[in-house]
Amino acid sequence: MTEWIAFIVTKYNYWAYISLMMIGLFAMIAKKNLIKKIIGMGIFQTAIILFFISIGAKKGATLPILYHGHAHGDAAVRAAAYINPLPHVLMLTAIVVSVATLGVALSLAVKIFQRYDTLEEDQINLTKYPFRRNVPENKEE
């Protein structure tokens, strides 16, 4: 039992990212509202960004800037003293990508709203005449 607790607690960053990712995936699959789906997508992508950032971190390490430089007798860079900057740099790109995806998704949602007058997936699927902006026929009477 204690082994299991240790297993969960020591790898808490992975558990956090997995639960966030599943929340996002659930929202994308189960929610009917397009904006909620987009929010789910955002959570999903953020989970992966957090995962990457957490793998670069080290306990007791500092920013990867050579503070004293090579001149102070410490010729070799001790990798253990610095966090790994590469995953963080990769995530800068991934954040840009996810912002762009979010932008495209939101603009699509706006266009869908303009055409169907709704953001609920069920109602969009029911719309027989996509060009007509009026809602169900029994309301016209």
Binding site: M41, I48, L90, T101, V104, L108, I112, R115, P130
Partner: protein, 501 residues
């Protein structure tokens, strides 16, 4: 300039990228110049890709280090026979669809020429970057560049395209994110992102669970983007409702590029033995390929829309390619790579026919093909050749790649795959004869069911010259690849088959 680092390796990506940013500015000044700017860039990229292919075949694989940084630190482009072949294929098809877009874009996307050509070139850049790169993360970035432009291009289409594009966006994002997650797992274990470096390091850690889960995530991510059977749901709507020029461009190429990525990661980054024996992924891939072939074929039978029918045929064709990759013996892999080339050319010709019919009749239902053999004879010839190639009739190219796939299946003793291939061939015959039936008036009835054709059915003319020329080139290409198949397989396909099987 290092003689082993040809400048064309980077120009082929840079030219379309820079032109893509120039096109909107040109569009402010003169709208009709956008087409010429885009076509010049596409032709230049095609020329560079051709140069690269010849270079690779004369002097062996090219390693191009961006900014002069050596591989594990910098981003490297690695071009071998497989990349170079894919590069030529993609640039060739994009150049042709670029020419064909001249008449179609002003009609279907009025006043959107500048954004269209900018996105078109960005899509092209993304696909080429995916093909040429030798870096796992760089591949992700280019994957997202091409996907984001594809979402936008598809959303420009007819009613319903926006919802289809939205679904594609959600599924595509999940796919790309899974790919990224898999890359992250491999990075934790190895500390590198360069493909060549990664493959050397991964060979020593084949028992690791992290490597296995990373591989699984990457595989699922690619499968979503490739529309492998249970994950294909985004594809039919997106390809059927996109503007016809967009589906002519995206449909033949996007899934094929992802198939290339699958081959690259399955056989270059990971050791083939690992994929076949340790991860047992290849056996699984064959079965999903078989399901895709059968499902795609049967769903295509129930469609009344020509483009939607073609979209389901693509699902089946992805099944062929994935099955060939999964069987993983040299014959089947040869067939799979050859089928990537052939399928791209024949699907491009068929979607182009859809585009020509849409251009003249205002729709792409099978009903709109009523009488095209009399009204649009040249279009009908292109259609006939494309259809025969998809069915797999000997002088066309489709026969030969299916033949290699069949031989590979028999060699491996995978009879279910062989049976699925043959069944789907029969289904394809039935599929296309429905269209021939309409086109040739075999069971002629008045075309009552055509919903309000834009132009009177009697005054339908032959498609515009630009599209016909492109269609002619594609049809001639199908026949030429078929007739010269032994030469093409020997010089281009065999060197591209990954070793170590």
């Amino acid at each position: 300039m290092d003689p082993n680092q040809p400048i064309s390796a980077i120009l082929v990506v840079l030219i379309p990228l820079l032109t893509a940013f120039a096109v909107p500015i040109i569009g402010f000044w003169r709208k009709n110049l956008c087409f010429y700017a885009a076509c010049t860039a596409l032709a230049a990229a095609f020329w560079c890709a051709l140069h690269l292919l010849i270079f690779v075949h004369q002097r062996g694989p090219v390693d191009y280090f961006l900014g002069g940084w050596d591989p594990p630190w910098g981003i490297a482009l690695r071009i071998d026979s497989l990349n170079a072949l894919m590069g030529v294929l993609v640039t060739f098809l994009f150049s042709l669809t670029g020419i064909a877009s001249k008449k179609s874009v002003p009609l279907e996307l009025p006043l959107k020429e500048a954004p269209f050509y900018a996105l078109f070139l960005l899509l092209f850049t993304g696909l080429l970057g995916m093909i040429l790169t030798g870096d796992m993360f760089n591949l992700y970035v280019f994957l997202e560049v091409s996907s984001l432009t594809a979402y936008a291009l598809i959303a420009m289409g007819e009613p319903g395209a926006m919802v289809a594009s939205f679904r594609y966006l959600l599924m595509g994002t999940v796919g790309a994110s899974w790919y990224l997650l898999g890359v992250g797992y491999l990075y934790i274990v190895t500390g590198t992102l360069n493909m060549a470096d990664l493959s050397g390091l991964l060979r020593e850690m084949e028992g690791s669970h992290a490597v296995l889960s990373g591989f699984a995530f990457i595989l699922f991510g690619i499968a979503i983007k490739m529309a492998l059977f249970p994950l294909h749901l985004w594809l039919p709507d997106a390809y059927a409702k996109a503007p016809s020029i967009v589906s002519t461009t995206i449909a033949p190429i996007m899934t094929k590029v992802m198939a290339y990525v699958l081959i690259r990661i399955g056989f270059t980054v990971f050791h083939p033995e690992y994929v076949v024996q340790a991860a047992k992924a290849s056996g699984l891939l064959v079965w999903f390929g078989i399901l895709a072939i059968l499902f795609g074929g049967i769903s295509a039978l129930s469609q009344t829309d020509f483009k939607r029918m073609l979209a389901f045929i693509i699902v089946a064709e992805v099944g062929y390619i994935v099955g060939g990759i999964g069987i993983a013996n040299p014959t089947a892999l040869k067939g799979a790579i050859f089928h990537i080339v052939n399928d791209a050319v024949m699907m491009a010709s068929l979607f182009l026919v859809g585009m020509m019919v849409t251009h003249r009749t205002g729709g792409h239902g099978i009903n709109h093909f009523f009488g095209i053999f009399r009204k649009m004879p040249l279009t009908a010839i292109v259609f006939t050749i494309g259809a025969l190639a998809v069915i797999g009739v000997p002088p066309t190219c489709g026969f030969f790649s299916k033949w290699y796939l069949l031989l590979g299946g028999i060699e491996a003793g995978h009879w279910a795959f062989v049976a699925a291939l043959l069944v789907c061939t029969l289904i394809n015959v039935a599929l296309f004869f429905r269209v021939f039936d309409k086109g040739l008036y075999l069971h002629a009835k008045a075309p009552q069911s055509i919903p309000e054709p834009r132009i009177d059915a009697l005054t339908i003319q032959e498609a515009p010259l630009g599209m016909l020329v492109v269609g002619g080139i594609l049809a001639a290409g199908i026949l030429a690849i078929g007739i010269g198949n032994s030469f093409i397989v020997k010089t281009l396909i065999l060197p591209a088959v990954p070793g170590g099987l």
